[in-house]
Subunit: 393 residues, 2 copies
Amino acid sequence: MRTLHQTFAVPFQFPVHFTSGLFKIDNPTLSDTLDARGDRAGKKALVVVERQLLKHFPLLLNQLALYMQVNVPDLQYIHKTIIFEGGERIKNDTGAVQELLKTIHEQGIDRQSFVLCIGGGAILDMAGYATSIAHRGIRLIRIPTTVLSQNDSGVGVKNSINAFDKKNFLGCFTPPFAVINDFDFLTTLDDRDWRGGISEAIKVALIKDASFFESIQRNAQDLAHRSMIPMQQLIHRCAEMHLQHIASGDPFEMGSSRPLDFGHWAAHKLESMTSYQLRHGEAVAIGICLDAAYSFLQGRITSKEFEAIFSLFRTLGFTLFIPEMKRSQDLIEGLNEFREHLGGRLTIMLLDRIGKGVEVNEMDQALLVQALQLLEKYQHQDFQVECNEVAVR
Amino acid sequence: MRTLHQTFAVPFQFPVHFTSGLFKIDNPTLSDTLDARGDRAGKKALVVVERQLLKHFPLLLNQLALYMQVNVPDLQYIHKTIIFEGGERIKNDTGAVQELLKTIHEQGIDRQSFVLCIGGGAILDMAGYATSIAHRGIRLIRIPTTVLSQNDSGVGVKNSINAFDKKNFLGCFTPPFAVINDFDFLTTLDDRDWRGGISEAIKVALIKDASFFESIQRNAQDLAHRSMIPMQQLIHRCAEMHLQHIASGDPFEMGSSRPLDFGHWAAHKLESMTSYQLRHGEAVAIGICLDAAYSFLQGRITSKEFEAIFSLFRTLGFTLFIPEMKRSQDLIEGLNEFREHLGGRLTIMLLDRIGKGVEVNEMDQALLVQALQLLEKYQHQDFQVECNEVAVR
């Protein structure tokens, strides 16, 4: 036997811009982004947009077309915009992906042309998948419009659709060409989506940064009342921590460890058990509280810490126990699905304290049932925990 | 506007083993490969195999099952082997990909379990695509069985299926977990497939290594008569050059330059124009001769060099002009499709001399028509060029 050994590294880079008024003629962000490699002339740009946005910004597509005409006339703007419904359902079959692929084919969008996707996490996931596989990868500019996608999924390297009733069964690891977060889009969110995205920020704070958790506590009332400045700060910090995590770790997840999946094994299962009526951020809030309760029952965190976490989510307006959680065995089956999706050994993040996660390789089913009962009990209590520094060790 | 800059590199490595008697109980290659990361225990292994091989090796699956049972009992071998027809047709619709995905789902194959794919380039391409997108990537062990896949596609980082009548429209860049070339499989090839794979070796020799070209010239008669030793040497050297090229260049092809696509713009179009009756290696032989003829007509290479190239392919038994090439405008349209697939500027490799390629950004249509006429004329001549050192400058 003879053997040749292949070894190489593939470098990736992309910017995450934060702006507002993205399509105003004098905002250079998009124009600069399209020309970041100095080669935009003659390239094409195809736009995919979430329908819901057009209700709030009926002139959005006209503004964008005008912006492109004025600022990037050397780029061939495809006027056949693709409009999709947002939400997780778009990921449940291949219809949207097929439509986007067909348009990429018909319009002759090549590997160095651009697809601009404007919308929430689900449509970004779907378009990210389609642009990853068409020609083995087309330049995707993500323009996330929700809290969740601006601070979490939209700045990462993953995309997916669901298949065989398994969330994210099909997908790729594909860094985007660029991400542009326009805070103006946040005004279009309903309260559920405004709130939902905060879960991922609390998640990353809980496992990595106690001071960030404290700042979210301090701003909880303002965030609940849709105050924009603390939300912008939260999104920026959360996105920054996600980017750092990806760059410093295992970007394409070849190992078993996925710290950012704290709270997610139960979240994924609850989304599926509710037929995606529960939105991702809402499910993550429950998943975090469940694994925090479990951490408390295992003696890893104090009752004060658990209550601080639970209370923060309550202040923000989350519901932390839903009827599906009474089907505890079905929910716990989510552990197996989670292990299968990741592969290898089950690896679950728990909390050692607020600001520090710890990985474990098994969960005790009886204790999980107790944790579920704890959430049910707390959900029905009108308790109020003082948010004070005692909780953060 | 504020901006965060994301930068990281993803390291990849995989071995390419050369062996024979892969499934003999005392051959450690496969066992060692499965345990390369020391974590095979509890993982699963699913096998995908090309039907044609089972005609030549009716006991192949029994041997493999026995091998696994004896040598890797800690791995869960899935006895439901998936058997597909080989050949490019398997890439023309999503049926095979769907069947493989469904089995991956049903059998609970996770991201760190293994899919072993035994077959030619088309089935490896298809299985590579399916295993790239399922769970965002399952470990694929490629066991290529043709000259073409052992020396070229099987050792690379690409996979694909065809869509919208465009070759390789859907696909990913995904390095395999490992590649195992078993020379015994070459005995199963018909003459067309034995011969076809030599094209890619001549291609890489022509653009990079004159001494390799000369060695193929020296061995041409033996290769034409299916002599195994020179074929093994050719495959090893060609695979080595491909690996070096990928590692030293732009593995995921983010730029416009693709030197290894020498001769491929016409090859892809001819495959499509003949509804894949022409096999890939046969089409590449024509594509190389066409671009060599064009290089000669442009004064880049001498008539002696062109004739040495043409003569080598003829000695090996290739047909270098087919009726479809009379539809020159249709064929030349392949340039546009090639540019669109790559994206960016048209970049075509021509020859400066034997052993040295040169990239150009346009091709003259009138000269291309002349090059086609030259091939037609030479095809009908029973000429014999002396293979001598004069041709290699």
